[in-house]
Amino acid sequence: MSTQSSGETPGFGPDLVEVFGPSQQDGGPELVQLLTPEGERVEHPDFSFDLGDDAILGFYRDMVLTRRIDTEATALQRHGELGIWAQLLGQEAAQIGAGRSLRPQDFVFPTYREHGVAWCKGVDPLDLLGLFRGVDQGSWDPADNNFGLYTIVIGAQTLHATGYAMGLQRDGVVGTGDPDRDAAVIAHFGDGASSQGDVNESFIFAASYNAPVVFFCQNNQWAISEPIERQTRIPLYQRALGFGFPGVRVDGNDVLATYAVTQAALQRARDGQGPTLVEAYTYRMGAHTTTDDPTRYRLSDDLERWKLKDPIARVKAYLRRNGVADDSFFADVQQEADDLGHRLREGCKALPDPQPLSMFDHVYSEMTEELVAQRDGFAAYLESFEGAH
């Protein structure tokens, strides 16, 4: 019923639109790749990775540590220490590539899964756990690292990002040519989010005002149980064409390419050349969250195929093959990951529960009389129990 017939109607072009999805293709010819799954560096006519091997060592470390944050948090959820966890397994390169291309003055609007970007921005991973443990709703100060709070309502943050970018324009920190001054915004979202009105409206506003924002979509092929084909029948990066700004698809499992493309897109934004859509083509190797069961809706074959494209393995292969790193490097990183894991484990368990009365704080900038009365009444009520026991 919803199949598409082929043929051609004059004036409208080919009837058979390209149906694009995880089971059919590997990202297609548009995919910008600079490091193959086998760990070989390749050239691309438009994008190149202009940092040295030191940076790649750093990326490797970032990815390993980010993955450790993820597996540790997943384990903490299994042990009842977190209520839920949104895993990023498989998306490390997309996030580290994007995260490392940011300058300190660039501002990030994340979803609920941007643990790797948070890492790059200097947010303590322990701070990320509070929300998932249920002790807060995001405890870090966005002003500290220019990393916004996690946003759970799908797509909402893309408009915030666009508005923030409009603020940068008004502050005169776009297109001045001063690299320490010019700033941009990056808005993270998923393939599923691309269907939300808010995301499409953010494209409209960004285009209309030529706002310095990079829309960074991690197409991990799934929105919970729904495959990318439900959201779009053409490659997602092409969505941008309809709004009059460039879109590009990068291999999101290739940290070099993701870095190079995002960095170029951010530079366009900082230079006053407006928005770009970057589609990081990747795969959610884990479940949607720890409460999800992907075996109900996807084939294990897919997962196996994507495992061959593991973002960390390919960098490791590159580093090894080219003698950039030796065993001691890998051992050090491993040790660092173990230490981080340990710190997260202990730190998570020690995260204090909020005080019940704290729920009345910060509803408003000053507590209203109504809320003071409710808080005081509740405090008295709680005390009445203490008396009783």
Binding site: M1, G83, I84, Y112, G130, L131, F132, R133, G134, V135, D136, Q137, I152, V153, I154, G192, A193, S195, Q196, G197, D198, A223, I224, S225, E226, R230, Q231, T291, D292, R296, Y297, D353, P354, Q355, P356, S358, M359, F360, V363, E370, L371, Q374, F378, Y381, F385
Partner: protein, 330 residues
């Protein structure tokens, strides 16, 4: 233990069976929403239905709530009876415009020439340890909207019948499901029974000293409160409101005129919650019977807090009893 001809089911199962029955009975019934197909919904309420009724009748939608409700309007205009699942209460708001300006108003706008037989299922309420936006109680906003009907089920048997009745209704129905109860208690379903009409409230425990009104997840707490009060010699009448718009107030007035005391409980915060309307109506109709103002028990007037303190935020048995005591001592 199920007796003959009955089966013991959870609320999730009751809803699933009710949906299946409605789809069997009427080929125009469609299910739509995020992940309702292969996955069977994040709560598995639509489990197995796509397999049996096909992708045309159990439709996985793109991730866009306004789009889901808006296309459901179009399907309803074409003669279908769409049943929309909103994944969590907090995600109904992108569809709010379509719901209040279109779904609610199309019958009125067209002077009855168009019908809007749509059901919007919303798992609602808290207490499941979830992150933000997953524990909201948005009912007052919908009950405030003329043209919508709003019901809340509280138990497995009602779940089975009420979802079918809502689907059979020619009016749009916001159908609230207490998600915390989905997989909690079981009850005996007799499929051959005749259910009460949909838009009626029900006395679920008779009593003489005070009347406790509740719906959805709070019915269980209200019954537990009545049980506890009984041990102290207080006799509470508990009414499961079931329908929030229209309200079925006759049994409430009858009860309050007898008891002289009323407490309304809901998980939504108090300010402008259902309790405000119910208290106002009771006061208007039973003014001289009331021995105390109608007291309202609800969450505090703050956003839903981090889940580690949600049990402090949400009303419970103790807060209901506290209000009953305040009413009796007024």
């Amino acid at each position: 233990m199920a007796t003959q001809g009955t089966q013991r089911i959870t609320l999730a199962k009751g809803l699933n069976m009710g949906l299946r029955k409605a789809m069997e009975d009427d080929p125009k019934v469609l299910l739509m929403g995020e992940d309702v197909g292969k996955l069977g919904g994040v709560f598995r309420i639509t489990d197995g239905l796509q397999k049996d009724f096909g992708e045309d009748r159990v439709i996985d939608s793109p991730l866009a709530e306004s789009g889901i409700v808006g296309t459901a309007v179009g399907l309803a205009l074409r003669g279908y009876r769409p049943v929309v699942e909103i994944q969590f209460d907090g995600f109904v708001y992108p569809a709010y415009d379509q719901i209040v300006c279109q779904v609610a108003k199309i019958q009125f706008r067209s002077q009855g020439k168009l019908k809007m037989p749509m059901v919007i299922r919303i798992p609602f309420g808290g207490g499941i340890g979830a992150v933000e936006h997953h524990s909201e109680s948005p009912e007052a906003q919908f009950a405030h909207t003329p043209g919508l009907k709003v019901v809340a089920c509280s138990n497995p048997v009602d779940g089975y019948w009420m979802i079918q009745q809502a689907i059979a209704s020619d009016d749009p129905v916001i159908f609230l499901e207490p998600k915390r109860q989905y997989h909690a208690d079981k009850a005996d379903l007799d499929e051959s029974a005749t259910p009460e009409p949909l838009f009626t409230s029900r006395v679920v425990r008779a009593g003489t000293d005070a009347t406790v009104l509740a719906y959805g997840p709070m019915v269980k707490s209200a019954l537990a409160a009545a049980e506890a009060a009984a041990t102290e010699g207080k006799s509470l009448e508990v009414i499961d409101l079931r329908t929030l718009s229209p309200l079925d107030m006759a049994p409430v007035y009858e009860s309050v005129r007898r008891t002289g005391h009323a407490v309304v409980a809901h998980e939504a915060h108090v300010n402008l919650g259902m309790g405000a309307e119910i208290a106002s109506r009771i006061t208007e109709q039973c003014f001289y019977s009331l021995e105390a103002p109608v007291l309202r028990v609800g969450a505090f007037d703050t956003p839903y807090p981090p889940s580690r303190i949600e049990e402090d935020y949400l009303p419970d048995l103790d807060r209901i009893l506290d209000a009953v005591d305040r009413s009796l001592e007024f």
